[in-house]
């Protein structure tokens, strides 16, 4: 018997806006029950990758190449109507601003039932059970409440209930806790972690917050300017990064031991504009290890063993 295919398999995905390759040859797999975090700064292509998986890219973005398989099924070749039936069932998505992501004129229960394609009257027991599972107090009352009656954290729990009630194989979470305060953030992350494990849902978590990554992810994929810089298990990657960008990113996290006088660590320079990518490594101009070879050719993602991959010629010298 062949092993079950991973819940999500992205192979050499490339997306472009006009002539600029904003996502360039990204490959990534997420197994059932696994939480993979995609980290990177704004504009590095992580949200576009998630939207490509949902097949809901903005009009300006063109799919240049690459395959995306959800539970073994190639979704890049599916007709629109078949793709629409998969959304919410085989794969679903939550994002930031939970309060804005719920229809203000529909009750909580109606919106969750909608993901099941059932009227609330028939889905009521399932909706109530789901609300209990996401940890909302007094679910029977919440079912008939409107989003404005709930706090941001409660709304995000409702969003999660909407996304998971149809038992999708894959959940995409695009900055799900960015708009929430820190204590609620921890609760929501713990909830995601627990539901993923219990239900065997694969989670692709998109974030720019290293703290969030350390909290709940099994594996990390660090993205820089549309390419994957480094992937690996969270513990190993945090302990010994194998890409200069990851190393600098980790060094830039403020620590409790910092005094008000200590300077914030920063990465010098800025991300190249999407139209101005050179032939070489996109991080080369900010990289302390860069040499002539780095600006001449793009480093491929190399297997370093132990589940780790790095797109750096000097991976062994980092750290």
């Amino acid at each position: 018997m062949t092993p079950a295919p991973p819940a999500l398999e992205i192979e050499e995905l490339s997306l472009s806006i006009a002539a600029a390759r904003v996502v360039d040859g990204v490959s990534l797999a997420v197994a059932a029950g696994e939480v993979v975090a995609m980290v990177g700064e704004s504009g590095c292509g992580k949200s576009l990758t998630a939207q490509a998986v949902m097949r809901l890219l903005p009009d300006a973005v063109r799919h240049q190449g690459g395959r995306i398989r959800v539970a073994g099924q190639d979704i890049t070749a599916l007709p629109d109507s078949a793709m629409r039936r998969l959304r919410g069932r085989a794969l679903s998505m939550i994002f930031q601003e939970p309060q804005a992501a719920l229809d203000p004129l529909a009750t909580v229960g109606a919106q969750i039932a909608e993901a099941l394609r059932l009227p609330l009257a028939r889905a009521r027991p399932a909706v109530r059970a789901m609300l209990e599972e996401v940890g909302l107090s007094d679910p029977e009352r919440r079912i008939d409440q409107y989003p404005f009656e709930l706090s941001g954290g409660m709304c995000q729990r409702v969003m999660i209930a909407c996304a998971l009630i149809a038992r999708p194989a894959l959940l995409l979470a695009d900055e799900p806790t960015t708009a929430l305060d820190v204590t609620i953030q921890a609760q929501i992350l713990a909830l995601l972690r627990r539901l993923a494990a219990e239900r065997g849902t694969a989670v692709l978590l998109i974030t720019h917050d290293m703290g969030v990554v350390a909290d709940i992810a099994d594996r990390v994929a660090v993205m820089y300017a549309g390419r994957i810089a480094e992937t690996g298990p969270v513990g190993a990657l945090f302990a010994a990064p194998r890409h200069p960008y990851t190393a600098l990113l980790l060094a830039a996290i403020p620590r409790l031991a910092d005094t008000p006088k200590s300077r914030l660590a920063v990465i010098e320079g800025r991300v190249p504009m999407p139209g101005a990518f050179g032939a070489g490594c996109r991080f080369a101009e900010r990289c302390p290890l860069a040499d002539a070879r780095c600006t001449a050719q793009a480093p491929p993602l190399r297997d370093l063993g132990g589940g780790r991959h790095s797109a750096c010629f000097h991976a062994e010298r980092v750290g």
């Binding site: 809901l56 998969l86 959304r87 992501a101 203000p104 529909a106 909608e114 909407c162």
Partner: protein, 276 residues
């Protein structure tokens, strides 16, 4: 919910009065509005004859004016309500479609709206009735199908705004069918402004019906309509002022209360445009 101010309650009562009048016309009217009596022609208000007392007087065929006004409310309200319903449905649907689909449907529908709005509506209505001929159903269709562009404009602009909101994206990501997104998620969220347009159009439709009936293009005699009563009374305006004054006053009162209610509704639904 805040209690509406007393003036609004009064306007609501007036409107409700007209509606009750139209619905219960056979019970409220003292006489048969079609019963003619050549002996009782053009009697002034308050005349008492052996046949009875005519509170608002009689017309040139000896028919009781009060009864005719009460039945005339039916024509006004029925035509206005049905044509608003037709144009509201047509206009909203087209606006939703063009705002959601964009592309060609947007270009075609919105340019059609622009050209419809550039033709004087009453002219368009007069022309179509002149070609099709009068009658209740035709009148409703003519008014309904010439008055949809205002709704389309509002629905289109609102749909553009709402469609970009996160909860519509969330519905797409949950695999909602497009028509379900349109009718269940976008339509309720743009219903307020559409309702405001509908109230202001309702007043206008009452006037249009009266105007077309006055010109003989609307409700046909002998069925009473305020417009045709005034039209017939015009010939006797020097001898029988009540034939034009009372239907005119009724029309004025009804349209005024509908319009003021519409303004109040607009201010309630959109506090930014409040006129004060």
């Amino acid at each position: 919910m805040r209690r509406p101010p007393p003036a609004i309650l009064l306007l609501l009562a007036i409107l409700a009065g007209f509606v009750v009048m139209a619905l219960a016309a056979p019970l409220l009217a003292p006489y048969d509005p079609l019963h003619q009596s050549l002996l009782a022609r053009l009697r002034p208000p308050g005349t008492a004859l052996r046949a009875g007392r005519f509170l608002l007087g009689t017309d040139d065929l000896g028919r009781d004016l009060l009864s005719r006004l009460i039945f005339g409310a039916r024509a006004s309200l029925a035509v206005a309500a049905s044509s608003v319903a037709v144009s509201l449905a047509t206009g909203s649907l087209l606006g939703l479609l063009s705002g959601w689909r964009r592309g060609w449907s947007e270009i075609v529908i919105m340019r059609l709206v622009d050209s419809m709005l550039s033709i004087p509506a009453i002219l368009l209505a007069v022309l179509t009735v002149a070609v099709l001929g009068p009658g209740f159903v035709k009148l409703v269709l003519v008014l309904g199908l010439t008055r949809w562009p205002r709704y389309t404009r509002v629905a289109y602009a609102q749909t553009l705004q709402v469609a970009a909101l996160p909860y519509i994206r969330a519905a797409e990501m949950a695999g909602c069918r497009p028509w379900r997104i349109l009718l269940r998620h976008i339509l309720p969220n743009i219903a307020g402004p559409l309702l405001v347009v509908a109230t202001s159009e309702f007043g206008l439709m009452i006037l249009f019906e009266a105007g077309l009936s006055f010109l003989g293009l609307g409700i046909q005699p002998p069925t009473p309509s305020w417009g045709s009563i005034m039209s017939a009374g015009r010939d006797y305006v020097a001898r029988a002022w009540w034939l034009t004054v009372f239907p005119g006053a009724a029309l004025f009162l009804l349209v005024l209360s509908v319009n003021l209610l519409g303004d109040w509704l607009r201010d309630r639904l959109d506090p930014r445009s409040a006129t004060r």
